[in-house]
Symmetry: none
Subunit: 210 residues, 4 copies
DNA sequence: CATGAATGAGATTTCATTCAT
DNA sequence: CATGAATGAAATCTCATTCAT
């Protein structure tokens, strides 16, 4: 038996958990199933994580880290490639985020429970929006995540972040229910997103910055 | 002991379930607790509903019916009271919907689960949007819920329905996390909603109707 | 609503119970399922039968009555049609009994439980064997069902009655397991039955009667 | 508490299940009772066996193995002790099998259920008959359990295996019902069995082998 | 790091039976 | 005759977590 182990099993667990949580939800996913899917002994999970809650917390941390890393490299890329059309930018961001589709749905679900300290969604939004702001090279220096202007933040979160998240997470079920073609739906979403959120963006920015 | 007969206990169950699902989520609410809260024998629940999933499905249907009823009466009211400002209208709708806050979060959560696609959220959106369209007395006669134009539907759902739903459901946690005052936040949301969704609405309508 | 009822529902219940008991066994068949299959209100079952045990007892009584009736008419028939080949006689008896296939399997099952007063199988055997004896017009007058010669009875029951019962009840599963054709299997069984049981029959009869 | 490790508790469960199923039947034995009898935590049963059906299947397999082992050692014994009378051989086999009496009745009962056709009885017969064939040192080399001649198989199963099984399982109830003495009944059965089945055996063998 | 075995508490679901109308 | 509603008890199965090795 070659020492395949170490960090390996921790990752296997995280991946399995990500998949299963997103597919069935946190509560409906048993630790047994995670162990089975990860091809790992159940007790291993409790070696790496204090308990089931700790596991989901680790997942959230991990996804936030990944998103941060991905976004900043994307930022660099967008700078080097120079001016692309807004549509292209939104599309590429959409594609980026779709990679986290599964875990994002878990993030949303947990945020909906409200009860506990499920602030992960907000922390994630903070990061994403911070990045977006940088991308747009806005001069707005009031962007402290602690207390931005209420209106601005409302705008970013409920008109920008939430629709995009929701689209990413629900597009499949949504297309299926309405018999839409996925590519058409994506195109439509980008169009709508630009028309509603991004167009207003300029306006808001102006408003805010004057 | 109750032997009250008929629909009564079915309703008691539905009410108890609505309260408990809203408060603790679907998975965290046991059938035992529902029975206890409803003051009904546990087996009664399985007499009226095939299983726990059937119960929540019935609940969704019932809630959707209630919302529909409430909205259409609101519609009538808005017609009789004549022209109110758009802001007032949105605010009243917001308040209306807030009554279902808890159960709506359950609706959203179930929709987020990948498997067994609970379509209740979409059915709810269909009804809500149908109402909204009537409220605006649009001349658009293509509003069949079966196959609306992709773009229009995308707009209504992801720029209108979802942000409003999300705001209703998340406002408390959101305000708490960012230390916002709730009234300010509501005001901000209404403002943003008008600016992004409703303003574009006219535009989309024009686009669509020409 | 025309008065379809009365005896009707009692029979519907008996038929449904017969089918379900034979398919799933007595214990694994719930009263609910019987009511559903019989298209009858569950409480009706408790109107017609004291309880579940009473229901199966009634079933047994009914089948024994039917078998008695059928056998004696068959007896008459066989007398009028005169001499048929032994094979034909066995075959016709097989076909006769196959009509009770389902209930016979229940009879067997209950007899296997041993515990309770499941003497129905033996009572049924008594009837069937008494008839057989008459059919063969044997001169044996010692055929009191109470205390026949041990050996003779052993022979009739374990070499005659049981194999035939078992074949009737198990032939389908048996053919399926061994990939036998049903007609071939029936033919083979009749052949074997004659060769082993009936041939010895003459011998035993001789032995006994001298 | 036991924490005895490994196979031990699995066996304890199997033994408890064998006893209880035999005594009360499959359906009338609750998993709780098995756990209690086995002095094992209830969840342990579901750790070792997928569900109750899986448990009984494992039990059948285990019993069949035991029977096989016992028969082949009996085979060896019979060879070393040289020629015993046929009656003695049958008697000893009868006694052997009587050890599994209870569980065999469960085997039969399950085989009688129309649905989910448990094939355990047939598998058991296959083994038993294979052994019997060896005992008789027949020259028949066509004894593949997969596709034996229909007639031969019918003979072995319905004239040999089934009567013997049934006698083992039912003898007590049968003797009680007819007020037979058990030893007399056993004697009678052996006699009948030889006269009907074994005598024909030679005949069949001849027939088959020419 | 890794694993098989173990456990107490509790979840969902089913059952035979009864009652009021 | 017929029915919908009701119930207490119990059955099957699952869960998160721990421990000894």
């Amino acid at each position: 038996m070659p020492r395949t182990g170490g960090e390996k099993s921790r990752l296997k667990i995280l991946h399995a958990a990500e998949y299963l949580f997103s597919e069935y939800g946190f509560d409906a996913t048993s630790v047994d199933k995670i162990a089975e899917k990860a091809n790992v002994n159940k007790a291993m999970i409790y070696y790496h994580f204090k308990n089931k809650d700790d596991l989901i917390a680790a997942l959230f941390t991990s996804v936030i880290e990944q998103i941060t890393a991905a976004s900043s490299s994307a930022l660099v890329a967008s700078r080097t490639t120079g001016e692309a059309s807004i549509a292209k930018k939104v599309e590429s961001e959409l594609i980026q985020m779709t990679r986290w589709k599964k875990i994002l749905s878990v993030l949303l679900m947990e945020a909906l429970k409200g009860k506990k300290s499920s602030t992960a969604l907000f922390r994630c939004a903070d990061l994403a929006l911070a990045n977006e702001r940088e991308t747009q090279q806005s001069d707005d220096h009031t962007s402290s995540p602690i207390a931005p202007s209420v209106r601005n933040h409302t705008f970013e979160f409920f008109s920008g972040f939430i629709p995009m998240m929701t689209f990413i997470v629900m597009q499949d079920a949504w297309c299926k229910y309405y018999h839409f073609e996925k590519s058409k739906a994506t195109e439509a979403f980008i169009d709508v997103f630009i028309e509603t959120h991004l167009r207003a963006h300029r306006q808001f920015d102006t408003t805010t910055n004057i």
